[in-house]
Each structure stands twice: as structure tokens, then as C-alpha cells.
């Protein structure tokens, strides 16, 4: 039975729409996107964080760099009152999306919902900065651990 109680199991979802369907941008371009939050029922969202960042993937520890960060706390601008939003940010000159062998760099937009009395929920939407081809090893990899 669905109810507004704390025990209710939510299935939040954030649907995003980038201004460019290919989701590929050049450095220093402006990215615009709209989002729609669904599946939160009557649960009260106390904060929404909207951020754009790059993070590293691969063998090393994850690093990340934030390019845009915004924290919305006005209840009128949050679900269940408002389920839609849009924002824009300008990309820096670097880093670019990179598909290496042991180092990869990805760009994404994260929309994080902080609920009252529940665990927070984060939705990640990847896009590309630049158009570098993935690395293909032309030679025998030389790995040196130390």
C-alpha cells in the first residue's frame, strides 16, 4: 500500500534533456539542460544539489573536479511543489573527456535529492567534452608497479 509514511519505498528518477541531443560539447561552450523529477510521491525534498563535474575512472583512485555547483533549498522550488528545473553552466578549457587504458576522464551532471527522513538519491548524466578518439594501444603495454 502506498502512503506518505517514512516506510514508503520510493523509486525516484531524474530525466534530463540536454540542449544538444548528442551530448557532445567543446571546451568553453555553455551547456543547458532541463530535468524532470519523478517517482518521489509525496515525499518532501529538502534540498536539491545540481552540479557539473569531471571524475576519473580506471586503475587509480577517483579524482573529481567541480565545474558548477548549486544548492536549492527554497521549498517552493523543490518537489513535490516543483518537479521541473533547468540550469546552464559554462565548461572550462580542460580537462576533456578521455578514454585511456588505465586513466579515463568523464564529465557528468549530477542531480542529488535530499529527502526528509530518507536516504539521498543521486542521478548522474554523462556528456562528452571534446571529441578525442579512445586510446588504442599500438605497442605492447609497459606497466611498472612501484
Amino acid at each position: 500500500m502506498m502512503s506518505g509514511s517514512l516506510q514508503e519505498r520510493l523509486e525516484p528518477r531524474v530525466i534530463t534533456e540536454f540542449d544538444r541531443p548528442s551530448r557532445r560539447y567543446d571546451p568553453e561552450e555553455t551547456v543547458r539542460l532541463r530535468y524532470h523529477v519523478t517517482g518521489t510521491g509525496d515525499a518532501v525534498v529538502r534540498v536539491i544539489e545540481r552540479s557539473a563535474l569531471w571524475y576519473s575512472e580506471g586503475k587509480g583512485e577517483e579524482d573529481l573536479g567541480v565545474c558548477f555547483f548549486e544548492r536549492l533549498t527554497d521549498p517552493q522550488g523543490l518537489p513535490p511543489h516543483t518537479r521541473r528545473g533547468e540550469f546552464a553552466f559554462r565548461l572550462p578549457a580542460s580537462p576533456m573527456t578521455y578514454e585511456g587504458t588505465i586513466v579515463k576522464i568523464r564529465w557528468c551532471v549530477r542531480i542529488r535529492l535530499f529527502f526528509v527522513g530518507r536516504r539521498d538519491f543521486v542521478s548522474e548524466h554523462v556528456f562528452d567534452v571534446g571529441e578525442l578518439p579512445p586510446v588504442q594501444l599500438p605497442l605492447q603495454p609497459r606497466a611498472v608497479g612501484r
Binding site: 563535474l53 573536479g65 555547483f69
Partner: protein, 361 residues
């Protein structure tokens, strides 16, 4: 239906990534630091009480002794207090929020925006590569030489190990002269001497290899470079005698640092190697050096140089040398490649109020 996730006793872990609940993890961390803080406070109170109750008070134990006894509770208080403060500071914040707060505290002001931008975030600074003028071309590149640190390490090991060996040998010798032969000490001394001799041999070999062939000098006409740029290179190789081969190549190396248990490991992998010059059967007369010029092109679709806390993508010029009488070696000279030009005004764009990037966490 209640859906409270209980903490698991076992979880996957690699470096700072964990599969468990962050909330439980933070709660555990908070308990740990709170316990340290409480222990520090209890110890401090106990010490204070003993000093107050002691006949003669503080003067009876002396100021220095009193400060010494405060060391342990002081350490507990500072570790527990700073840990708790860090947790409270980050409580309820996401990792993006924490990264943004560290890099741009002004974002959390009422204006809510960062105010300035680096021109090329996450590209390593290149000032140290451009501050040495060349003799033929514009910039003389510094040598990236992990081999020098290896030689230093071998030398340090040889000195310290042989100091222990000398100490043992003197002890054994004094006993022997005094008519008391310590066979146990002598049996320990034999492998110690062998390791000490091996240490010296390895150090001398590394030192000779490092210094015998002569220095390598690389100068380039322009720096930093961009994808698609062509650049002239000047090579100067010291030494004397015959060289079977000297070759130049442009290399792209990826570097990833990660933790395995309590160890921190670094893996390096060369993912592009573009040879651009090669000379064979070279003879260098005494007092002269081998000097040549060449040029290379940075691939048009190259990744730019990148460095964050645990990951890096680096470009470098590699000089591969094969002397006739010595083992072959490679010397590396790092360069910086900036991102591709995306428009004529790339470098003239005013700093964005929104687009600012931090690196690492």
C-alpha cells in the same frame, strides 16, 4: 515495510571506494573520534586532579614534566577533536558539495557562484619547463630522472647497511683479540658482509651507468604545444666512443596511483609512442658531443596533459641511447600539451562566473 539497511560486517573496499552505507561509515568514524576525544578529556582531568591534589602542586613535579605528561592526552584531544570537526563540517554534504566547498568557498556565499577561473584547469603548470633558455633553440627541457633517485637509494642503502656491518665486525674483532670468539656473531656477520658488498657493487654500477655515458640535452623551439603543432628539437649527447643507436620519440604515458591495503602503488603505462628521429653507428670524439636537429608533430587528436591527485596523462620526449660498451638506457624530458584549439578566441575568453574546475579531493 521498514527498509533500514543494517551495516555489513564485510564489504568490498579499494582505496577510498566502499560499497557500504556512507551514513553508517560516518557514524562509526564519529564514534571512533568521539572515543578518542573522551579519552583525552578523561586523561586530562585525571592529570589535572593529581596535580591539584599533589602536595606542592605544579611546582612539585616541574613544568617540563607536567608538559610531558600532557603529550598523550593532548594527542588524543587533537586527533579526536580535529576528526570530529572534519566530520561535522562534511555532515550532510555530498562529495560534489565538499569538492566545491574546498575549491570555491565563495560559491556558498549568497551569490552562489565561483568568481574566477584558471585558464587550463587540471593541466599541470609549465613554468618550470620554460625557465631555462636553450643554446640553440628557445627552451632547454629539464631531465625527468627517476634513475638519479635510484642511485641515491642504492647509495643510502650501501652506507647504512655497511655501517651496521662495521659495527658488528668491530664487536667480533674485539672479542676475537680478547680471546673470546663469538661464533654466533661471526655466522651472522658472513651474510651481512655479503649483502654489504653486493650493495656497494650495485651502487657503483648504477653510478657508473648514470655518469659514464655523458649528459643528454634536449631543446625545443616552442612550449607549451598544442595538438597538431610541429616543433623543432635539438639533441646534444655527451660521451665518447661508439654508439650503436640514438633515437628520439614522443611518448604519452598514463599514470594511476591507487591503494592496495596499506600500500600506495603507482602504475605507469605508455599508450602512444611516436618515433621521429634515429641515428646509427655514431662515433663521438673525445671532447666533442653528438649534436643533431629533428622535428616532431603532436598528433591532431591528442589528449592534452592532465594531472590530478591520483591520475595523470603526461607527454614527454624520450631519448633512447644504445652505447657500444654500456647497457642501453632511455632518458625522458617532459613537455606540456594544451587542449585543442576550439576557436580563435579560446585564450581571450573572459573568466566565466560559472565554469571553474577544481582537481583532486
Amino acid at each position: 515495510m521498514v527498509s533500514i539497511r543494517l551495516p555489513r560486517l564485510f564489504e568490498k573496499k579499494r582505496g577510498s571506494r566502499r560499497t557500504g552505507s556512507q551514513a553508517w561509515g560516518r557514524a562509526g568514524e564519529a564514534c571512533f573520534y568521539a572515543a578518542l576525544l573522551a579519552a583525552g578529556m578523561v586523561f586530562t582531568a585525571m592529570l589535572g586532579r593529581r596535580i591539584v591534589e599533589a602536595p606542592g602542586g605544579l611546582a612539585s613535579i616541574g613544568l617540563w614534566m607536567w608538559l610531558l605528561t600532557l603529550l598523550l592526552p593532548g594527542a588524543l584531544l587533537s586527533i579526536g577533536g580535529s576528526g570530529l570537526a572534519r566530520l561535522i563540517h562534511g555532515w550532510g554534504r555530498s562529495e560534489e558539495g565538499m569538492a566545491a566547498l574546498r575549491r570555491f568557498p565563495e560559491m556558498f556565499q549568497p551569490s552562489g557562484r565561483a568568481s574566477e577561473a584558471e585558464p587550463f584547469p587540471s593541466v599541470p603548470p609549465w613554468e618550470n619547463l620554460n625557465n631555462s633558455p636553450g643554446t640553440i633553440l628557445r627552451y632547454r627541457l629539464p631531465l625527468e630522472s627517476p634513475e638519479s633517485w635510484s642511485v641515491f637509494g642504492f647509495g643510502l642503502f650501501a652506507v647504512l647497511w655497511n655501517a651496521v656491518v662495521v659495527l658488528l665486525a668491530v664487536t667480533a674483532g674485539v672479542g676475537f683479540v680478547g680471546g673470546q670468539t663469538d661464533w654466533l656473531l661471526l655466522s651472522i656477520l658472513v651474510p651481512f658482509v655479503a649483502i654489504g658488498v653486493a650493495g656497494v657493487v650495485i651502487f657503483v654500477r648504477a653510478l657508473v651507468l648514470q655518469t659514464a655515458v655523458g649528459p643528454t640535452q634536449i631543446e625545443i623551439a616552442d612550449h607549451p604545444l598544442r595538438p597538431g603543432d610541429r616543433c623543432d628539437v635539438y639533441l646534444g649527447q655527451g660521451g665518447r666512443g661508439m654508439f650503436r643507436r640514438i633515437a628520439l620519440s614522443l611518448e604519452l604515458e598514463e599514470l594511476a596511483t591507487f591503494r592496495q591495503g596499506t600500500d600506495t602503488r603507482t602504475e605507469r603505462r605508455v599508450v602512444h609512442e611516436i618515433p621521429f628521429a634515429e641515428w646509427r653507428a655514431i662515433s663521438i670524439a673525445p671532447g666533442r658531443r653528438f649534436e643533431e636537429r629533428a622535428s616532431f608533430e603532436v598528433p591532431a587528436e591528442a589528449m592534452h596533459s592532465f594531472a590530478s591527485l591520483h591520475n595523470a596523462v603526461t607527454w614527454r620526449i624520450a631519448v633512447h641511447v644504445e652505447p657500444a660498451k654500456w647497457p642501453r638506457f632511455t632518458r625522458h624530458f617532459p613537455i606540456i600539451v594544451l587542449p585543442q584549439r576550439t576557436g580563435p578566441a579560446l585564450l581571450n575568453v573572459p573568466p566565466s562566473r560559472l565554469a571553474v574546475v577544481g582537481s583532486g579531493r
